[in-house]
Symmetry: C2
Subunit: 329 residues, 2 copies
């Protein structure tokens, strides 16, 4: 409804041109602009490759760089990249140690990354890690299991850091699979996504309504309810996240408060304070927090809370240096 | 209309608690939480201090850290910090070389920072730099001259880097004043700011309208017009910016595309591509660009374009290392 965008045909391609131009010291277009790659590859290291539909920026291209991804493939808005794009990224960034594909759990993404891996047989050694952190979905709700949402940042950062340290393909796959049970997210929307094609919101919320358990593609949530106060909203997000997390002795909790695109920093910081208070009452003190706009759903107003119970080794990988357009430390 | 926020009484304080907790390795609260300061001060260096009303996050607290600000004072939403807050920041961060105050050009901010400087007489050497980059305003429109908007990031970064290199108070003031004529911004809104007090938009735009020349406090713009296509919108922002910039031989142009809070990265990157195309047609190639959400107006949908014609020395200061919550390189 309130979008700046007009030219839906070229929106994704033009936006990527603007992105690469803003970060040309870190990233470059791959062949025929099929993907975005790290400017300087690191020979002998496993190539970590991800991707998905556009509309989730800065995910995934914003995480291409030293200590995280080697390449990211972007499809049309909310549409998987093609196997051809993914294969091109493998061809250009595999320097001999193989490719690790990090894939959010959606039918289209899983299918196209699988197809690319099959096409790569004989040319690349390939392993795949599926991200499935959305506490609002599960095997009982969707045949493919839980959706991949903001927890994708955790998986890409930790696997990227491990690859940078020289871990091999099998070790990276085991690391990614080990994270799966200890990583959950839950989101709330106060205004739906404006579809670039129709300029209409994908679901309409009244001024006194909110949608709990939303995805990042304009999917309706688990349920709609009356607008609660901020502390209550945060409770409705944190409780299902905590309930689904597999406990881990000696865990270093990582907390992420992620904006969906239409929510400003003042609100995200506020939600972060509330989430910390909620966790503190339950004896949980985050060892590190990340607050900002990392996995969006175009201009959706709302946010998600992610909690990861990391092992000390995983936590060290989270804290390792990273230099990407959207994450630097 | 679509806000997450509820508790307006404690919103700013709670949001700052969340902010400091997320970045505790870089920043800390000053005495009585009156301001946010750099965790590790750098003795003998001029203290660079800024501040303003809340609602513009990550400005100013997000720019506290090595290579930029020593302290930032936050008032209530769209309300200047008090002289008492500013004086407390000076007392705690002046390590002997004096204080440089960076102030956006609004009556309330200018008055309160002036009052703090007077109260500091005999205790601190103080100089002030006023930021006035908004091409939509000027001496003919408002008695105080042009408003300070997204160009504030340029002034804070360059003066912060110069202070870090040991420049003294007089040199920093001259550097700041020198930038003034070569720094301009212009903004567009597609949806007004939702006031936290009333939960209503400060100005109402129809779905086919846009407001050109908006400020960052919900002020209406220079004019309202029908919704144009993206390239036309960018032209309406870039033309007045270019027209008002004092030329500089050998300038290194810096381009900023800044989101106002309710606009996601995909749109900002797209606008960046369009702004580059506009400038290229006029023979201007940005030496560096910054694209993201840096100076907000709560959840306003829209963006601004800033252009700075930097001297090679200023450009080097822009590129110098910085480690703050919102800007790292």
């Amino acid at each position: 409804m309130t979008r700046f965008l007009g030219a839906t045909q070229t929106l994704v391609a033009d936006s990527l041109i603007g992105f690469v131009a803003a970060h040309e010291e870190l990233v470059a277009f791959g062949r025929a602009a099929k993907f975005v790659r790290r400017r300087a590859l690191h020979p002998g290291k496993v190539a970590v490759i991800s991707g998905g539909g556009a509309g989730h920026e800065p995910l995934h291209c914003g995480f291409v760089g030293a200590g995280m991804l080697d390449a990211a493939c972007t499809g049309h808005v909310f549409t998987s990249p093609t196997p051809d794009q993914i294969l091109a990224a493998m061809d250009e960034t595999d320097t001999g140690a193989g490719c690790l594909l990090v894939v959010k759990n959606y039918d289209g993404d899983v299918m196209n990354f699988e197809m690319a891996a099959e096409m790569a047989a004989g040319r690349h050694r390939v392993e795949t890690v599926i991200v499935e952190d959305d506490a609002a979905t599960g095997p009982s709700v969707r045949s493919r299991g839980r959706r991949g949402v903001a927890g994708t940042v955790v998986v890409e950062k930790i696997l990227g850091a491990a690859a940078e340290r020289g871990e091999d393909l099998a070790a990276l796959k085991a690391l990614g699979e080990g994270l799966s049970g200890r990583l959950r997210s839950m989101g709330v929307a106060l205004r739906g996504v404006t579809s670039p094609d129709t300029a209409r919101a994908t679901f309409a919320l009244g001024p006194d309504e909110m949608e709990i358990g939303v995805g990042i593609h304009g999917e309706p949530g688990l349920y709609r309810t009356g607008r609660a106060g901020p502390a209550e909203i945060v409770r409705l997000l944190c409780e299902p996240v905590l309930a689904q997390l597999a406990p881990l002795d000696g865990a270093r909790p990582l907390l992420i408060v992620n904006g969906f695109g239409g929510t400003p920093p003042i609100e995200l910081n506020y939600a972060h304070a509330l989430a910390r208070a909620f966790l503190r009452e339950r004896g949980i003190v985050p060892a590190r927090a990340l607050v900002g706009t990392f996995v969006t759903s175009l201009d959706m107003a709302g946010l998600s809370v992610t909690l990861a119970l990391l092992s000390p080794a995983e936590f060290e990988l989270w804290c390792a240096p990273v230099t990407t357009p959207a994450l630097v430390w």
